[in-house]
Amino acid sequence: MATTPNATTPAELGWSPQALLRRMRGADEIAHLITFIAAATLLLITVLLVFQLWVHSAEARAKFGWTFFVTRTWDPVAGDFGALPFIYGTLVTSAVALVIAVPLGVGAAIFLAELAPPKLSSSLTFVSDLLAAVPSVIYGLLGVFLLVPLMRKTVQPALKSTLGFLPLFKGPTYGIGFLTAGIVLAIMVVPFVLSVSREVLLAVPRDQREAALALGATKWESTWKVVVPAARIGIFGSVFLALARALGETMAVTMVVGNNPMISASLFSPGYSIAAVLANEFSEATGNLYLSALIELGLVLFLLTFVLNGLARLLILVTTARGSGVLPS
């Protein structure tokens, strides 16, 4: 990995020291400026994005105000729009995804970081990283043609007969719905949890493990009581990274969530997510108010990401004394 420093030899520095110093400063400043501009472009794009969403949602914001967030109707003919079912659907599908993906991803990361021989660990990580590269539309394709029939015929009836007393698993089994969307999302975000968690686990110093083992701890005890706590900040980071992906996922969810603005406690129920309603209706919303309401939904989604990101950071700032607040990615 390390290349030999291809540094300037003293022979090339043969001019007057003052001029050289000035020149160096100038070049450094230009480099600083150019990279600063690149970094600022990112800020600019984001500000422009918020600005666009804000301006184009003005009509809906003026008409509905805060009631937009608590209204359950979505009626394009009467011009009555509320965001609640979409916010609910987005949160529920993402929650289902995390409930599945976090234990699976962290468990796999522990195996890869602590147990597997290095060769196996690196090849399995390689495979997991390839999994992260699988395009979301492919998940949608498999979701529609493979997972939905499987859920309808096998998984949901089984859940209903065993856990049917819970309100979560009641109602008719359509195959599509919150649960199916959550499962697709879970498979999509597991590699993110895995790769970040594995990296932070590996970053925990070796001697901490060895100390625990020397004190007579089993492998699992040293892992669970010493290594994982030491790495928990990074693991939290991986969870929020996964959450960000899950909230933002559009196509795979659209294809399996059921596309019906309903609020139901049952995970079998069809629902809708903000991203899915945008994909379905943005290109065809004809009224100005309709379009504006959709763009406000986009704004809501953006703000949701914003708040969650803020929370993640706060959490990290609180749990770490270091306080740099950098999410590993």
């Binding site: 109707t73 979505w74 009626d75 394009p76 003919v77 009467a78 009555d80 529609v144 939905v148 029939p149 309808r152 008719p172 359509y174 195959g175 599509i176 659209t254 294809m255 059921g258 596309n259 019906n260 069809p270 809708y272 379905n280 209706e281 290109s283 065809e284 919303a285 004809t286 009224g287």
Partner: protein, 341 residues
């Protein structure tokens, strides 16, 4: 530096890509809209292109609502829709928009009721009641009375509708508005509405899939999708009291009943028409053409295509299960082509 090399390769590729622009004289037209006539349009544009290699019409089936929106946003050269543009939408356009009927289609009530293999009959009252959420069981008297001899289960009806804006929905809600005052006041007609009950599927295919997968379901889809997916669909009682099945003849009959009264802007609804043989939930589908083109090559190409579509093009309709345009309508449209400047 490796990264610099990679960037250089990219730059060269980009330059190469830019060089391969269109050969001179090519007319590239972009259009978007309705999904229902897509098989017909893709056939037409392909055959037309073989005869006129310099004209390339790229049609994307993004839905009727989308066709109207994109035409108003001027991101496409022309649009297509299963529901005519309303007055508000026409006002938003910077140049007047002309409607050109191309073919006809029908919405059919499709169902999946385990144990029922007979073709079901639906009265307008039953359809309105089911979609309003007032009729909830398959063995409701409103359904049973029209289907003597068929044993219907006491199960809940699972209503399936479109989740996206669609001309199919427009035709269906237009029909329900005509036959049910309650539907008209409570829900109304549009490419997307606030459904009182039901599951949403995206696209005709999404709805067809849901019906196939969900026992005891009832939904509406375009005729060709029911045929393609081999889903059962029922007869509907028309204004003369006859139960009619949707096919080329009954859809043509619906159009013939209205052809005489065709308004000059071609924006006409042919749902619930008169005539014993007419299927009541049928509609024209339209190309939406701006009356002014700034590019004369594009204008000439569009005009020539329209004329070809109404004459030579019609021969391909029935092979794809679309009903041909009535003669009177073709004559009227030919005149309207002259309005494009």
């Amino acid at each position: 530096m490796r990264i610099a090399k990679v960037l250089a390769v990219f730059a060269v590729l980009l330059a190469l890509g830019t060089v391969t622009v269109a050969e001179g004289g090519q007319v590239l037209l972009n259009a978007a809209g309705a999904t229902f006539p897509y098989p017909m349009y893709s056939k037409w544009f392909d055959v037309y292109r073989q005869a006129h290699p310099n004209i390339q019409i790229n049609y994307q089936s993004i839905g009727s609502g989308g066709g109207i929106r994109q035409l108003l946003d001027k991101t496409v050269d022309f649009g297509a829709s299963d529901g005519p543009m309303n007055d508000d939408q026409l006002k938003q356009a910077s140049v007047p928009i002309l409607h050109f009927p191309t073919v006809m289609g029908a919405d059919v009530p499709s169902y999946n009721v385990p144990g029922v293999s007979a073709e079901l009959n639906f009265t307008p009252e039953a359809l309105a009641g089911i979609f309003l959420g007032k009729i909830t069981k398959w063995n409701d008297p409103a359904i049973v009375s029209a289907n003597s001899g068929v044993k219907l289960p006491a199960d809940d009806i699972v209503v399936v509708h479109r989740s996206d804006g669609s001309g199919t929905t427009y035709i269906w809600t237009d029909y329900l508005s005509k036959i049910s005052p309650e539907w008209q006041t409570k829900v109304g007609k549009a490419t997307s509405v606030n459904w009182p009950v039901g599951l949403g599927g995206k696209g005709n295919e999404g709805v067809a899939g849901l019906i196939q997968q969900t026992p005891d379901s009832l939904g509406y889809i375009e005729l060709i999708y029911a045929i393609q997916n081999k889903i059962a669909y029922g007869r509907v009682k028309n204004s003369s009291g006859a139960f009619v099945k949707a096919d080329l003849a009954s859809v043509s009959a619906a159009a013939a009943a209205t052809a005489k009264f065709m308004p000059d802007d071609f924006r006409v609804s042919i749902t619930n028409p008169e005539g014993k043989a007419a299927y009541p939930i049928a509609s024209f589908t339209w190309l939406l053409i701006p009356s002014k083109f700034s590019d004369t090559a594009k204008r000439d190409a569009v005009k020539d295509f329209l004329k070809w579509m109404m004459t030579d093009g019609q021969q391909y309709c029935e092979g794809l299960a679309y009903a041909k345009l009535p003669k009177e309508v073709v004559v009227k449209e030919m005149k309207a082509v002259g309005k494009i400047e």
